[in-house]
Symmetry: C2
Subunit: 341 residues, 2 copies
DNA sequence: ATGAAAGCGCTAACAT
DNA sequence: ATGTTAGCGCTTTCAT
């Protein structure tokens, strides 16, 4: 039989209003009454009815703030689609959303935005941006004020966020290695391109790639790891220089970096049929080059689910008090070939 | 501004009770009143508030019936997990579930079960079973009685079901071809194993495989399509006979059939390192043989989402009147390698 | 055939 | 500090 605040009120000998105060941590209840109510609720395994809650909240919906990089980044569109999908499911359940698009090149704008949200009395925050000290501090501040924060797509480490929802970078590197030895074959020599090995997020993919290469027993040699610093030119120049001198290379893992630059190098050297390329995510230039069979595989991270799940987790936390299943929620790491599209 | 039945009632000059009768197709309303209410609702784009609806339904939850094959089939556990997950989200929203496990070897049990559900006054049905005339008729009967039916995992064709939610078999065949030419290489010769080419569901994968092989420009030759009739022995014997005589084969696509039998043949002929195997789904024997690198890829169909989405679609249809996005809802076709696990 | 009113579980404004 | 009450939008019983 389901337990309601009415039941609890009777057993505790108080009114429903008081039970509501206790259960929602509102002030103005004597400690002993509060404890009595709390212990009864726990014993009865009380769980709030979300439909009733939503209906009561109807007029003043609970507002969540969403902070992410500017919309032009195509990748984030899929995340937004996921958020919209969750919003649609929850639209009658008493929530409203507010978006803020801030730079992910410098942190102060994002930090300020978090602060503004907190001061405006928001109930929860979804955040995707830099892993930076200013932001870390603002997140901690929000959490200290009782406002849960979920990071998505790209984590902010060592802070009090409720959880992170995104991809497992290390695993995506391992998968890249698995695919590479399958297509490039035993004893092949390959090269990997990353952004900056000093960034943990960039290094994780390379670590996964190298670890799995070593474990696999396929004797796949990683001849070089090129740092592109996320610049087209670095990718182009360094890759071009290296491949020109190493004709034995039969695979490129584009962990991070400009895939168009990579493709251009390969074509200019006439290596389309000798080199296998594996990259990440689904961008227009990647789709195009998969269709023409110059890119073999791309590894994806399910951005739709990242958006969808982030909102759901926040909602669940606020409305039912349930903590997420884990502090790190990884979305499935998928493999895509041209036939998948 | 959101529209409620109260608004409609005022504009139509009737009571909220009458509006409710109209909107839920209950009888006892004069045709002209009904039309008036209906047109006002349409003009105002009325959408019911599901929280309110759920709360009102609280005592007599809407019951959905679920018919699927016996639980021992591991594959269906993931589907059930998906259903449970959706159920959990909807648990306060006025639904209850009833499961029936019936044979998928013969159709009369399933047909009878549908009929029982209909007679018991159920509100909607999720069905997975044979594509058979008896079942088709019972589904049509249910729908005629106003009970929506969603088929999942395996479709029942040419009937009045609301929609089918499951995998795109043809596409999974195309993906298998794409993977195969990547690992087996240009000009390779491969063999495919299916169940029974007379079954549309079995044939679809083979069609996809062959179509893509032809299109790809890789000159991959499909040397044989073996029918296993879903028997271990047929798979073992036919494959063994064929491979013994054709040492040039470098790939096996197990579209349907016993993967353990296939692995055994390959091992007994000592071909582990010369033949690439691609199969479907994640079964214990497949996982085991992927780990030991004898199976290269397995193609998966996201059973969790199949279960989750089926229930959600049924719920949406009943509670908000929304039709599913499409009559055929395909879940993502994924690619899994040992590194993905 | 239609209206009026109670009630689903919870919140919040108002009393005390 | 605590109780009382109205109300969220919809369904359903009971009148008429």
């Amino acid at each position: 039989m389901k337990v309601t605040i009415k039941n609890i009120a009777q057993l505790a000998g108080v009114s429903r209003g008081t039970v509501d105060r206790v259960l929602n941590n509102r002030k103005g209840v004597k400690p002993d009454v509060r404890n009595r109510v709390l212990s009864i609720a726990a014993k009865l395994k009380y769980e709030p009815n979300i439909a009733a809650k939503a209906l009561a909240y109807n007029n003043r919906p609970v507002k969540f703030g969403i902070i992410m990089p500017p919309r032009e980044i195509a990748f984030f569109n899929e995340i937004k689609n996921g958020i919209h999908s969750a919003e649609n499911e929850l639209k009658d359940l008493g929530i409203s959303l507010e978006y803020r698009y801030v730079s992910n090149q410098e942190s102060s704008e994002a930090a300020t935005t978090i602060d503004e949200f907190v001061k405006s009395g928001i109930s929860g925050i979804m955040f995707s941006g830099m892993d930076d000290i200013k932001i870390r501090n603002q997140i901690d501040n929000a959490v200290d004020e009782g406002i849960p924060v979920v990071t998505f797509n790209s984590d902010v480490t060592r802070c009090k966020r409720l959880c992170f929802i995104g991809q497992d970078l290390y695993k995506s590197g391992r998968i890249a290695a698995g695919l590479m030895y399958r297509v490039a074959g035993r004893n092949s020599k390959v090269v990997a391109v990353t952004g900056n090995l000093e960034f943990q997020a960039h290094k994780a993919r390379i670590d996964g790639f190298m670890d799995r290469a070593a474990e696999s027993g396929q004797n796949m040699i990683i001849a070089n790891v090129i740092e592109s610093f996320d610049r087209y030119e670095d990718t182009y120049n360094k890759l071009s220089a290296f491949l020109s001198e190493h004709s034995e290379i039969s695979g490129i893992y584009m962990a991070t970096g400009d895939v168009a630059a990579c493709v251009k190098v390969v074509k200019s050297l006439g290596l389309e049929h000798n080199i296998h390329i594996i990259c990440n995510d689904i961008l227009p230039e990647i789709v195009e080059n998969m269709k023409s069979q110059i890119i073999d595989f791309t590894i994806v991270q399910n951005p739709f689910i990242q958006g969808y799940k982030s909102l759901k987790v926040l909602y669940e936390y606020i409305f039912t008090g349930k903590n997420p299943e884990s502090e790190l929620i990884y979305t499935d790491t998928g493999i895509v070939i041209t036939e998948s599209l």
